[in-house]
């Protein structure tokens, strides 16, 4: 037996963990010892399987993807869908990220969620999420991927509303679910179109026959890719469907790290990379993908500038970084997009878990003094580097990574995306605009991260006199995963070291078999020589300037705790209120929809037509008819005889004529 053919184990193990933890949640919710072993244990086992699969694939020369067929799922006439997993270079990379980062976050959760009454439920949902996320990346056809796609959405909903006693959290979960549904419709329509065009929904078949079946730049392939991308905007929180992600921060922080930063939200990027053949055939769609990505990167970065909730800053940062990934895949630099996906998984998981440690400490401090201040508001923090040196150091590493300072991982991935956008500009000048937006977003990224670090860890502490003594570093089970992620954030760049610094672009070459079909349709000439040096220099300079500006602007001002702070005004208020997009959606979509549902559908159709006309109307009509016909039943035999005679004569007349 080989590891590749046992790849189903990687899905089955977390699924078994879900069943065990789910059963414990119902029967023995306080069996914390067992849950703490099963929850992270199955993930680590799945990681071992993933490493085994990876090593096996590494040893063999690149060939056709290995399809592990489990059973026939939808045998319906010409539609034949197997429940099958596809092991290839791309899905292996995703598997490693999901199970690797997932294991670390599960370990961290053991410390973070220990005191929560829903401990077992939490790990049940988390394990289920990982199982379905693996189905998403391993599925060998669109429908199997769609199982995972929908499943992770469900887990996201369950985990955002994990503390459902608070209505805000339950609403945030619903919002995420409904916004994702809008995108899912796009995915479904794309599948229908693919079925019409190809008669098959297998990735392998579609990849092989795409160039022969669809005209380059034709309407069909453009429609398919745009509908797929609509699915991506929902799942990966891009304009216009991004507003659910910041609200998703209502869930526990490890959830934000795993689902809403490292894995699930990158599913859209994975989908575009997986269907790279189709996007390569549709230059218009690719341009739209890159454009939406660049716009989202810039837009979200500006919002992050003026958020006070530490998790909200990171949430908008995630939206922004996802935008970068879409710039990458939209530009045709699929490897760069996946590279940024990987490094982002490292440093953003680190940032979220670090923020979790900070919130954990703040929460305990306020808990000790029975204060009801906001434990997530950065205005209540400050100076935490003295009490939490490890968290501070590690988050600093992640900050330097996301700001794109060499040699941290984010520098390489972000630089590659921007360079690719610049290179594409030679063919289509609009990409120069995307490049410019990316550079500007990079400046803002460095700025808001510096602001976050300065407000949280530097300057004077603003938590309060009584609380200060209770601020302390998180236990080792939480700090340990942070250290591992810190190392990965630092050295993650070696995955795909560019030639410029003597690397071999390992990830790009590794993904070559998956991305080759797209490459064959339109290559990208990457800048070399002096242009490359200038681009790299500009990116680094932007990052450094952003960080310096951020630290100076934040530390130069006297800050006060949230309860004493003056309200924001002008542009700062607009940014703090997120450009009022939520309010706009509320006015334009939610309220008309509620009005339509209430007035037209409920009072009009349901109460008026269904209840009034159909149900009560038919009852009224039969009662009226019955009341009339009742009079005929006089009970007098004579009357019956007369009627009988009239009827007989009438029939006689009809017969004679």
């Amino acid at each position: 037996m080989t590891f590749s053919h046992a790849v189903w184990l990687a899905v089955a193990l977390p699924l078994a963990g879900f069943l065990v933890n789910g059963a414990l949640a119902l029967k023995r919710p306080r069996a914390t010892g067992l849950i703490s072993v099963v929850g992270p244990g199955v993930l680590i086992a799945a990681f071992v399987v993933s490493v085994g699969v990876f090593v096996e694939l590494w040893r063999e020369p690149p060939g056709a993807p290995i399809i592990v067929r489990l059973w026939s799922w939808l045998p319906a006439g010409r539609l034949q869908v197997d429940l099958a997993f596809q092991v290839d270079q791309l899905s292996t990379v995703m598997m490693l990220i999901i199970t690797g980062v997932g294991s670390l976050i599960h370990l961290y959760s053991v410390g973070y969620m220990k005191a929560d009454p829903g401990y077992a439920r939490f790990f049940a949902y988390m394990n289920l999420f990982v199982a379905l996320m693996l189905v998403l990346v391993l599925g060998s056809s669109f429908p199997v991927m769609f199982i995972g796609w929908e499943g992770v959405g469900l887990c996201s909903y369950l985990l955002i509303g994990f503390w459902f006693n608070d209505k805000v959290n339950a609403d945030a979960g619903l919002k995420a679910f409904i916004m994702n549904r809008i995108g899912d419709v796009g995915f479904l329509v794309a599948m229908f179109l693919l079925w019409r065009a190809f008669g098959s929904l297998d990735f392998g078949y579609v990849t092989q026959h795409a160039a022969g079946t669809l005209a380059r730049g034709g309407a069909i392939v453009t429609a398919i890719t745009l509908f797929l991308f609509l699915g991506c905007t929902g799942k990966s929180a891009q304009i216009p469907l991004y507003t659910w992600l910041p609200d998703a921060m209502a869930g526990p922080t490890p959830v934000s790290a795993l689902i809403h930063a490292a894995t699930m939200v990158t599913a859209g990027v994975y989908l575009v990379a997986r269907t790279n053949v189709l996007f390569a055939l549709a230059p218009l769609s690719s341009t739209i993908v890159a454009g939406i990505g660049a716009l989202t990167a810039l837009f979200a970065a500006t919002i992050a500038l003026r958020q006070y909730d530490i998790k909200k800053v990171l949430a908008y940062s995630t939206v922004s970084q996802l935008g970068y990934m879409f710039v990458g895949v939209g530009t045709g630099a699929y490897a760069a997009g996946v590279f940024h996906l990987a490094t982002h998984a490292f440093f953003k998981a680190l940032l979220f878990l670090g923020a979790g440690s900070v919130i954990h400490a703040m929460h305990q401090a306020y808990h000790a003094s029975h204060s009801h201040e906001d434990a997530q508001d950065m205005r209540n923090m400050g100076g935490l580097r003295h009490s939490m040196p490890w968290t501070f150091g590690l988050m600093m590493v992640a900050t330097l990574a996301i700001a794109g300072i060499p040699p941290f991982s984010g520098f390489f991935s972000k630089d590659e995306i921007l360079a690719a956008a610049f290179a594409r500009g030679g063919q289509a000048p609009v990409y120069y605009v995307f490049y410019g937006m990316g550079i500007l977003a990079a400046l803002l990224t460095a700025y808001y991260m510096a602001r976050l670090m300065a407000m949280t860890f530097m300057g004077e502490n603003r938590t309060g006199e009584r609380e200060r003594a209770h601020l302390h570093e998180a236990p080792w089970i939480m700090t340990g995963p942070l250290v591992v992620l810190g190392v990965l954030s630092f050295v993650g760049g070696v995955l795909n070291l560019p030639h410029l610094v003597g690397g071999h672009a390992a990830l790009e070459r590794w993904l070559e078999p998956v991305l080759a079909p797209a490459r064959a349709m339109g290559g990208l000439v990457m800048p070399e020589g002096s242009t490359e040096y200038i681009l790299v220099g500009a990116a680094v300079a932007i990052g450094v300037v952003g960080l310096l500006l951020g630290f100076r602007a934040t530390l130069g001002r006297r800050m006060v705790p949230a309860k004493d702070a003056a309200p924001d005004t002008g542009l700062a208020l607009v940014l703090n209120r997120k450009y009022y997009v939520d309010e706009l959606y509320d006015r334009l979509v939610v309220r008309p929809l509620v009005w339509l549902s209430r007035v037209v559908l409920w009072r009009g159709v349901d109460q008026g037509l269904v209840d009034g006309a159909a149900v009560n109307g038919s009852a009224w009509a039969s009662r009226l008819a019955g009341g009339g016909l009742r009079l005929l039943q006089s009970g007098h035999v004579g009357a019956y005889v007369v009627l009988f005679l009239v009827g007989a004569l009438w029939i006689l007349r009809a017969v004679i004529r």
């Binding site: 009742r630 009079l631 005929l632 039943q633 006089s634 009970g635 007098h636 035999v637 004579g638 005889v641 007369v642 005679l645």
Partner: protein, 102 residues
């Protein structure tokens, strides 16, 4: 005188008897009388069957036998019903038999 020459008067008599029966059913209130009127109508029909049998053969005769059988059965059932009603109501006046009024 050929047998068929009696056809016209026979049918006329049959029509008269039938009409008498109908009128009796419509106008009388006594259940027994009403019953007899029904018998009268049946026999009026029998008469016309016999008369027409001269033209169409034996089927008319056979039909008459059937009608008489049914009439006998009907008389048995009908008289039993009338007896039961009398026991219940001490009357066989149709005006009083209106249990089925809606």
């Amino acid at each position: 005188m050929p047998a068929t020459s009696l056809l016209g008067p026979s049918l006329a008599l049959s029509a008269v008897l039938f009409s008498l029966g109908v009128a009796g059913v419509l106008l009388r209130r006594n259940a027994i009388v009403l019953f007899m009127c029904i018998e009268l109508m049946l026999n009026a029909v029998n008469l016309s069957f016999i008369a027409l049998a001269q033209l169409h053969g034996a089927s008319g005769h056979i039909m008459v036998l059937f009608v008489m059988t049914v009439a006998a059965a009907e008389a048995a059932v009908g008289l039993a019903i009338i007896l039961a009603i009398f026991r219940l109501k001490q009357s066989i006046d149709l005006k009083q038999i209106n249990l089925l009024q809606g």
